[in-house]
Every structure is written in structure tokens, then in C-alpha cells.
């Protein structure tokens, strides 16, 4: 009998421990990169919740979604989940809690929600905005006789600029398509002016197909720019993160398609090359849609990365509070200053950051943001686009055949009723 009581007491202690400990686990891939932000969040959360712990687990970038899917399938996932916006986040919604009614005050001040929204339900709250712009090397522009303060604003000017670099024996744009990411960036950059708002919406819902004229034209441009010698050689075996951007900084090519937040962005380039040596411009597209304006290219923009709550978490309320802390203006401003992100929370003030690039970008975001086309494709389509884009560069497949193969994947991923 005594033994039984003792065992019951031990069992009770084991069962009760997690409840008493109230440990909230967050999975993220940037923990080691931006320690100040996570330290600030941990301190603020634990101060507001005595007895509770906010524990950040840094996961490897390359294997993150594999690990996360496996953990969610076995109900051992973290309480708070980090994810990239778009296909990757939308793939996870089955394991997440819809947040629309849970954090209404916070959501009001957050922009870039569409990358994390499925059927009107918001599953992750973005804390960075991610967008696509072109960065250029001002010294290289000067060296070939181009005005470094006047980057191209139309496709004709882009073509002229690339012809100039080609004549000088230099690569115009960086190409790093080993993982197929360059093809993703290219899709959004080329679609930013060439698709109407309605076509962007049709694309997201699967009504606009890869073989339809506006998208097929982008595939053709992908092939044509390669054939025209715009890129450095070996692009199909060149990794993007972060080798491509290091090579750009070293002068391998004059332009690169980069990001707004986290990596390959204004802060990284200004730090490594000097704020006066790097410029930024929104990428013009080959054609201009009826609701777009020649000379005023858009910036593909959406929520970059965000946090969601595991629906199987034992501490859902605390997990929601953890997100509130992580996205609060006080904590998020640490990430803005240290890592140079563009915050999704409009309550964060970035006006004091002394960056010429960021000032230009913030101006464009207010008036020129367009949907990020590749973020609105399904994960299966992007996976296939990676393969087809490489085969197109090698001349192993025609544009028509590639578009047909992508249509097939799109039809499976986004069946039309």
C-alpha cells in the first residue's frame, strides 16, 4: 500500500511538473543570428509572467520544415512556431490555431497578413515584411559610364544597362539557381508590373495558369535573358544563400535581386559595401499591365516571417502572450535596429535609422506594393518551378513543355471547382 502511494505521488509530480513549469517553447531558425532580439523577448515575457519560461530552440534552416512537419505529425511540436510566409506557412495550417479572434488588438497594427492567411483565417502573425527589389553596385555603374544615381525604371532601360555591361565583359545580374530560389525571385520581379491586380488574385486562386500568356511570357523572359548573356556563368550550380550575395558584393555582377528584411537586404549591403556604394531600385517588368504605370515599377511585398500557435499546445494562452511580446514595438525595435528588418508592426518607428536605402524602400512601400507572386504559388508548384527553371536554362525543355508540366502540378495543388 505504501509502495502504491509512493508511486502515485511520484506520478503526480511528473504529471504536474510541466503544468507548474509553464515553459513555452519557440522554434525559430534565427536564434543564433539575432540573440539580442530573443534575449529582449525572453526578459519581457518572463517579467510579465513570473514562473513561466520562454525557451527558444534554434533549428537548422535547411531542415526546418522537415523537422517541423515530423514534430507536428507526432504531436510533439513547439508551442510557438516560426515560419516563412507563403507556401511554407500555408502548408502548416492543419496544425495551427487560427488567430483572428485571439489577438485582435495586435492584428490591427500588422500589415502583410495575406502571406499567412488561408480561407480568411490568419494562422501566423508576421513580424517582418519581406519584399523584392534590385540592388546595384554604384562603382560598377560608374566604371562602364552609367550614372550611378539613375538606376533603370523601365524594361528598355534595364536592357540598355545590361547591354552596356555585356559589352564591357561584365555580368549584369547575379544568377544563383542551384536550389531554384532565383527562379522564385524572378517570377515575382517580372510579374510585379506585368500582372493586373485581378490577374494576381486569379494566380493566387489557381485560375491563372502557367501556360496563360502573362505567366508564359515570364518563363520566356527567363530563357531570353539567360541567352542574352545577362548573368555570370555557372548559375545553375551557384547557391543563393548567401554565396550569391557575397559574390555580388565582390563585384561578380552589377545587379542582384535581393530582399528587404533579414538577409541580402539594404542593411547587409550597406554594411559590407558602404552606404554610398550600393543603390536600390524596384525592378521593372518587360510588359506593363493596364493598371500599372510605365516608369513606376512595384515592389512585391508581403509578410516575411511570422509566429503561429500549435493547436496542440498545452499552454495556448501563454503561447499567444509570447507572440504578443515578440511582436510588441519595444521588443521588435531591437530586431529592426540590430538585424535591419522592415517590421510588419506599423507601431514600430523606423524613421531614426540612418540608411538611405531604407528611406527609399519605406517610400515605395507606402505607394507601390504589389503581391509577391511566388508566395501565392503552392509549395508543389514552386518545387516544380525549381526543376523546370533549371531545365530551361540548360535548354533541356521548351517554354511550352515547362508551362504544361507546371499546369499539371498547379491543377493538383489548386483544384478548381
Amino acid at each position: 500500500m505504501h509502495k502504491l502511494k509512493l508511486m502515485a505521488a511520484v506520478a503526480a509530480v511528473f504529471v504536474a511538473t510541466p503544468a507548474l513549469a509553464q515553459e513555452i517553447t519557440v522554434w525559430d531558425v534565427n536564434v543564433s543570428r539575432n540573440p539580442t532580439y530573443y534575449d529582449a523577448a525572453k526578459a519581457a515575457f518572463e517579467k510579465a509572467h513570473p514562473g513561466a519560461t520562454l525557451n527558444f530552440v534554434g533549428q537548422p534552416d535547411a531542415e526546418y520544415y522537415n523537422l517541423l512537419n515530423t514534430a507536428l505529425a507526432s504531436k510533439t511540436g513547439p508551442d510557438v512556431i516560426w515560419a516563412n510566409g507563403g507556401a511554407q506557412a500555408k502548408n502548416l495550417v492543419g496544425g495551427l490555431l487560427p488567430l483572428n479572434d485571439k489577438l485582435p488588438d495586435l492584428i490591427k497594427s500588422i500589415v502583410g497578413q495575406s502571406a499567412f492567411t488561408v480561407d480568411g483565417k490568419l494562422y501566423f502573425i508576421p513580424f517582418t515584411l519581406q519584399g523584392h527589389v534590385a540592388y546595384y553596385n554604384k562603382d560598377m555603374y560608374k566604371a562602364v559610364g552609367l550614372d550611378p544615381e539613375k538606376p533603370p525604371t523601365t524594361w528598355a532601360e534595364v536592357t540598355k544597362m545590361c547591354d552596356t555591361f555585356k559589352a564591357a565583359g561584365k555580368a549584369c545580374f547575379m544568377m544563383a539557381n542551384k536550389e531554384g530560389y532565383e527562379a522564385e525571385f524572378f517570377l515575382s520581379e517580372m510579374a510585379n508590373q506585368s500582372l493586373t491586380a485581378q490577374q494576381q488574385a486569379d494566380w493566387a486562386s489557381g485560375k491563372l495558369h502557367w501556360s496563360d500568356a502573362p505567366i508564359k511570357a515570364i518563363l520566356q523572359t527567363w530563357v531570353d535573358t539567360y541567352k542574352n548573356g545577362w548573368y555570370q556563368e555557372g548559375g545553375n550550380s551557384q547557391t543563393m544563400f548567401l554565396d550569391e550575395f557575397t559574390l555580388f558584393e565582390q563585384g561578380t555582377a552589377a545587379n542582384v535581386w535581393g530582399l528587404l528584411s533579414n538577409v541580402a537586404h539594404w542593411k547587409a549591403f550597406e554594411k559590407d559595401m558602404g552606404a554610398d556604394k550600393v543603390g536600390v531600385y524596384p525592378m521593372p517588368s518587360p510588359t506593363v499591365a493596364s493598371d500599372q504605370h510605365e516608369g513606376s515599377p512595384g515592389v512585391p511585398l508581403d509578410g516575411g516571417v511570422g509566429y503561429g500557435v500549435n493547436k496542440d499546445s498545452a499552454h495556448i494562452d501563454l503561447a499567444l502572450d509570447a507572440i504578443k511580446t515578440l511582436l510588441s514595438p519595444e521588443v521588435l525595435s531591437v530586431l529592426v535596429n540590430d538585424a535591419g528588418i522592415v517590421p510588419a508592426n506599423t507601431a514600430v518607428d523606423v524613421s531614426s535609422i540612418p540608411s538611405p536605402g531604407l528611406k527609399q524602400i519605406m517610400g515605395w512601400l507606402a505607394t507601390r506594393s504589389v503581391p509577391t507572386t511566388h508566395a501565392n504559388a503552392s509549395a508543389a508548384e514552386l518545387d516544380e518551378w525549381h526543376r523546370q527553371s533549371q531545365a530551361l536554362l540548360n535548354g533541356d525543355i521548351t517554354v511550352d513543355a515547362a508551362a504544361a508540366a507546371l499546369d499539371k502540378v498547379q491543377a493538383q495543388a489548386k483544384p478548381q471547382k
Binding site: 496544425g95 531554384g180 555557372g234 545553375n236 550550380s237 508543389a380 533549371q390
Partner: protein, 306 residues
């Protein structure tokens, strides 16, 4: 029932051996149980579980519905899977190369070439490196701006995008796999060569046989069991252990040039959140590997009986 069988003076002497045999069986089972348990828990049950999942439309977060052979039919119509099987076929065609190179090197070492101790160590060195490290090294060597192209440019030849061109990516990957594993083959063949009767080699030499005749008529026939064993483990290794190298070197590309079934399984599970499809591909790969292993083991058994 047992009592009635064992009654009577004639059967009594048999009881002791039966008892001790039963005790022996119990003891044997006890020793075998951990291994059986491990195989059951980590091999058989996951295999059956995986087969069950392959018949559904499950995702990582939803159990899905029973769809019968839907995932298998999808695989048959999936050009990427067909391409991966074709690549596996090409890889299997390279098995003779994976066997011949270490065999020749092992025979040379056994014949006493100068510096054989040095070569034995050097040949084995790549075996201790992980596939990720080997992949990283060769990514640098074979990159467009890598050392190999620098050498080609030095002698006036144009650089080649070894890992980015469809025509070169798979052969190059196979060459690297061969380099990284041949040391183990050399070791296995050296062990086999120690069993080749020296008097036969000596007799052939005294009879005036040339070097290649000794190799062809004496040494290689004696190595037959080793060649067959090496073929089995190389085949299984090539079909199931190239993931790390491919992941780092080419990511399965360009296009599907280096996509193998195991890479596609990983992609379906991890990137696309399609564990049911990944399970179906795994079962197909298991059946193919199992059939090949069965064929080869039959060959080995026949050899053992000789």
C-alpha cells in the same frame, strides 16, 4: 496431454533431452529477443505503418482518407518519379565500375607494388569522411569558379559547369561517390585476396603464365564470392545512401538530372507535406531494393553451395 505422451518407461529417458532442449530454446529466444524486438519496432512495424499511410491522403497534420492505390497510381504518372527511377537504373549500370576499380587496386597492393602501405591508408581515407563533407569539398572543386575549371583554364580549355549541366551532373556525382567509397571495397578485396592460394599463383608463374593470365585465370575466379558480396552491398548502398551527397552537391538538379527515389521521398515528406505520397514512394523503393537484394543473395547462396 503432455503427461500421457511422456508416461511409460520407454519415454522416460527422452524427457531429460526434451527438457534441456526446451531450456536451450528458451535461452536462445532470450538472446535473440532484443534483436527481434529492435527489428520489429524499428523496421517491420514502421514498414507496415508506412504501407498503411501510403493508402491514405494523410498530411503531417491531418490523417486524410483511404484512397487505396491512389498514391501508387500517381507515382506511375509522376514524371519526376519516372526520371528518378531512370536515374537509379543508370546508377545501377555503374555498379561494375564500383567493383572493378577497388578490385584492381587491391590486387596491385597484394602483388606488392612499391609503397603499398601508403596506398592502403590513402585509399581508405575518404571512407571516414561524411557525405556532407565530401559534397562540400567537391562543390568547391567542381563549382564553375572552382579548382578544376581553374586548372582547365590554365591549360587553355574552357570551364564546364560540372554540377549545373544535365549531361555532367550525374556522372560527376557517381564519380565522387565512387571516390568516397572505393577504399572500403579495396579493404574487402584485400581480405579476399588473403584467401587466394599462393601455390596456385606460384605454379602458374612457373608454368610461364603472364601477369594478366594469372589475374584472369587464377586470382579473379578465386575472388568470385567477394565480387558477389561486394556487388550486393554496393547495389544497396547506391540505391539508398546517396542522399547526403546529392543533397549537398546538386539538390537533385539541374531539373531531375540527379534526382533519385530517396531524394524525392525526402522532398515529398519534408518540403511538400505529403507523407502519404512519400510512403508510397518508399514502399516502391523497398520492393525494388528487396527484389534486387533477393536476386543477388540467391546468387551468393548458390556460390556458397559450390
Amino acid at each position: 496431454m503432455t503427461a500421457s505422451i511422456h508416461t511409460g518407461p520407454v519415454q522416460r529417458p527422452r524427457r531429460r533431452p526434451n527438457k534441456s532442449r526446451r531450456a536451450e530454446t528458451r535461452m536462445a529466444l532470450l538472446f535473440v529477443a532484443p534483436a527481434i524486438l529492435l527489428v520489429l519496432v524499428f523496421r517491420i512495424i514502421p514498414l507496415l505503418w508506412g504501407f498503411g499511410i501510403s493508402l491514405t491522403s494523410a498530411t503531417a497534420t491531418a490523417p486524410g482518407e483511404f484512397i487505396g492505390a491512389g498514391n501508387y497510381l500517381r507515382a506511375l504518372n509522376d514524371p519526376n518519379f519516372i526520371a528518378s527511377i531512370a536515374n537509379a537504373g543508370i546508377i545501377l549500370l555503374s555498379v561494375p565500375v564500383f567493383i572493378t576499380i577497388p578490385m584492381i587496386l587491391a590486387i596491385l597492393i597484394d602483388q606488392g607494388v612499391p609503397g603499398r602501405g601508403f596506398f592502403r591508408s590513402v585509399y581508405f581515407f575518404p571512407v571516414v569522411l561524411s557525405s556532407v563533407i565530401i559534397g562540400s569539398i567537391f562543390s568547391i572543386v567542381l563549382g564553375f569558379n572552382g579548382s578544376l575549371n581553374a586548372l582547365l583554364k590554365f591549360v587553355g580549355l574552357p570551364g564546364v559547369d560540372w554540377l549545373g549541366r544535365s549531361a555532367t551532373a550525374l556522372p560527376v556525382t557517381l564519380a565522387i561517390q565512387s571516390w568516397s567509397t572505393f577504399g572500403m571495397g579495396v579493404l574487402i578485396f584485400l581480405a579476399g585476396l588473403s584467401t587466394v592460394p599462393k601455390d596456385m599463383v606460384e605454379a602458374a608463374r612457373l608454368e610461364g603464365a603472364k601477369m594478366w593470365q594469372i589475374w584472369w585465370h587464377v586470382i579473379i575466379p578465386s575472388l568470385r564470392p567477394i565480387i558477389e558480396f561486394s556487388t550486393v552491398i554496393t547495389t544497396i548502398g547506391l540505391l539508398t545512401s546517396m542522399f547526403g551527397l546529392i543533397y549537398v552537391l546538386t539538390g537533385g538538379g539541374p531539373g531531375t538530372a540527379t534526382t533519385v527515389p530517396e531524394y524525392l521521398i525526402w522532398s515529398a515528406q519534408g518540403r511538400l507535406n505529403q507523407p502519404s505520397y512519400a510512403s508510397a514512394l518508399s514502399i516502391i523503393l523497398f520492393v525494388i531494393t528487396g527484389a534486387l537484394a533477393w536476386l543477388q543473395i540467391r546468387m551468393m547462396s548458390r556460390n556458397t553451395n559450390l
